[in-house]
Amino acid sequence: MLKKVETSPLLSVRNLRIEFPTRRGTLVAVDDISFDIAPGEILGVVGESGAGKSLTGAAIIGLLEPPGRIAQGEITLEGQRIDNLPYEEIRRIRGRRIGAIFQDPLTSLNPLYSVSRQLVETIQTHLPLNDKEARARALELLDEVGIPGAGERIDHYPHQFSGGMRQRVVIALALCAEPRLIIADEPTTALDVSIQAQIITLLKRLCHDHGTAVMLVTHDMGVIAEAADRVAVMYSGRIAEIGPVQEVVRAAKHPYTHGLMGSIPHIGHHVDQLTQIEGSMPRLQEIPPGCPFNPRCEEATDRCRVERPNLQSVNATEVACHLFDKAGA
């Protein structure tokens, strides 16, 4: 079977810069990042907390919280620019064309409304269905996300579901209007490890069945390796490395990605000590000049401390690191 070759990306982010104006100057949380997501593709976005992963997701659906703002760049969805739309228009895109899944299923659902009401409300916001049709669709969705006895449980309230079940409901809510893209912000972080795998499998299957693309934000390399087609590694608001997941996992190029991989324990490989990256990611107001990773990088040179590396192609991936500069480039 030949994979259909898509020429135009579903989502395209170009030179995105997100700033937080504060009294003590402007903080740059996301600095000049660009990436594409192809239709049906799962792009993993990985990085430590504060790397700007979630902010990027929020910016795409127009839910950056003030004072955070997009200072520069373009976001286009299916060829339409969406980062500068008026509120009502971006609202219509949310849920309809871009769905969202949040981290904590225990707090994502309104405790005072039944599951059916939240589903029907979302469905009717986007699709021209009457109450009966919307309810039938809600039931179908619950069935699809694997809620046993959906017919009985549809009128239950969120507190009557377990965490894993609630995350399934959240996924059903994200799928209400068949969006082309889902932004899943740490969808498994708050769940038990055994449930995490189930949710990831479910998400993968649903997106495959519906042809939905996913931007999977997480700090868990394991989740990425399991689910993603491509992965973007973020550090201090920049993309350090982006490429096909096998390539990045097996042959990490950026020293930071290397460190990330070395910190994952592998069953079967005996190691005396897991490697760790010394130090911690700089705070937003203390990002050093040059490569933001240079103070923690064992291979940093003087050039790394002054000149910011740009993304460049190395084999199948793109890396922002001076180590890979070609001679004369």
């Binding site: 659906i61 839910l63 609202r91 219509r92 895109i93 949310r94 849920g95 309809r96 769905g99 969202a100 949040f102 981290q103 904590d104 707090t107 994502s108 659902l109 309104n110 405790p111 005072l112 409304y113 039944s114 409300e121 979302t122 916001t125 986007h126 694997g146 046993p148 449980r153 239950h156 309230y157 507190h159 009557q160 579901f161 377990s162 965490g163 894993g164 079940m165 959240v170 809510l173 994200a174 209400c176 209007a177 038990d192 055994s194 449930i195 189930q198």
Partner: protein, 329 residues
């Protein structure tokens, strides 16, 4: 649920008995009732005879039991001052107080809640700041001062509104209402504003702080991420989650408004129960005072019961759990 109601009812009965004991105590410890009933030239024999016929020589328990039974039947005895059944006086005065109180609380709710929602949503807006500053006046100025200032402005200087009394009233059976005549409605305006102002600002500030709290929650962000309209998010999901504290405070305030209408009624010469109570205190008219005490306690108890039941209506988590959990997965 049923057991809960029974338990609350029993508690209510206990509260009422305690209040009855205090009310009954008034008769025994605040002066000698015989002195209040008879003139100075009554002989000792006559006093003794009267004491015997009134049952004042019986044991404490018997007297208290008799008092409780009579009170429960609505028989509060005779007013020393007016020489007529206290019950008749209450029936005559109650409509004035209840109309004033209920109109005030409705006014406070229907103005306070939308103002609270508005100030919560537009925290930094100019209008919201004006509301907040004005609410400080409502919170800090004493009721009687507001009343007197309103009388000065609209009653004395502009001569738009009557300065005292209830205007013309229409009798509907035993209930006299001022709501059906123009002069009755005009007379109601200033006292109800006076009484409502504090409650209104209280409710507004409460709704505002609750809204600020709720708007930060994940389920509100998730509701927005699903593309629900602002109206549905703000007035549906958010406002409903602020209701429990608002119901509590409004319930308690309705009780206080009825009880403390005394001041407003005095300022506006409003012929209600509060004014009757003040007169009774001046005249040491103990049966009236005792009856007022019991009646106000009854209002509080009933309102609290209704508030507790409203919690159940609003918050499904308090209702009997129909098989929670459902296991993981």
């Amino acid at each position: 649920m049923f057991a809960f109601i029974i338990r609350r009812l029993l508690q209510s009965v206990l509260v009422m008995l305690t209040v009855a004991l205090i009310a009954f105590g008034l008769f025994r410890f605040v002066g000698d009732p015989i002195n209040n009933l008879v003139g100075q030239d009554t002989t000792l024999q006559d006093r003794e005879k009267l004491r015997e016929t009134l049952g004042l020589n019986d044991s404490f328990i018997v007297q208290f039991g008799r008092y409780v039974i009579n009170t429960a039947k609505g028989d509060f005895g005779y007013s020393y001052m007016h020489r007529r059944p206290v019950k008749d006086m209450l029936v005559e005065r109650m409509p004035a107080t209840l109309e004033l109180s209920i109109i005030s609380v409705l006014m406070a709710l229907f103005i306070g809640v939308p103002m609270g929602v508005y100030t919560g949503l537009h925290r930094n807006g100019l209008l919201a700041k004006i509301f907040m500053s004005m609410s400080l006046i409502g919170i800090s100025l004493p009721t009687f001062l507001i009343g007197i200032m309103l009388i000065l402005l609209f009653g004395v200087m502009l001569r738009w509104l009557p300065t005292f009394g209830r205007g013309e009233v229409v009798a509907l059976g035993t209930w006299t209402t001022g709501l059906l005549t123009v002069s009755g409605l005009k007379a109601l305006i200033m006292p109800s504003i006076t009484l409502a102002l504090f409650q209104m600002t209280l409710i507004m500030r409460l709704v505002r702080s609750e809204m600020l709290e709720v708007l930060r929650t994940d389920y509100i962000k998730f509701a927005r991420a699903r593309g629900l309209s602002n109206r549905a998010v703000n007035f549906g999901h958010a406002l409903k989650n602020t209701l429990v504290p608002v119901i509590t405070i409004t319930g308690l305030q309705l009780g206080s408004v009825i009880a403390f209408a005394i001041i407003t009624e005095s300022v506006f010469q409003w012929p209600g129960m509060g004014k009757m109570f003040i007169e009774a205190v001046a005249d040491v008219d103990i049966p009236v005072m005792a009856a007022y005490l019991c009646l106000i306690a009854l209002f509080f108890v009933v309102i609290n019961l209704v508030v507790d039941l409203l919690y159940y209506a609003v918050d499904p988590r308090l209702r009997i759990d129909q098989g929670a959990g459902g296991g993981h997965g």
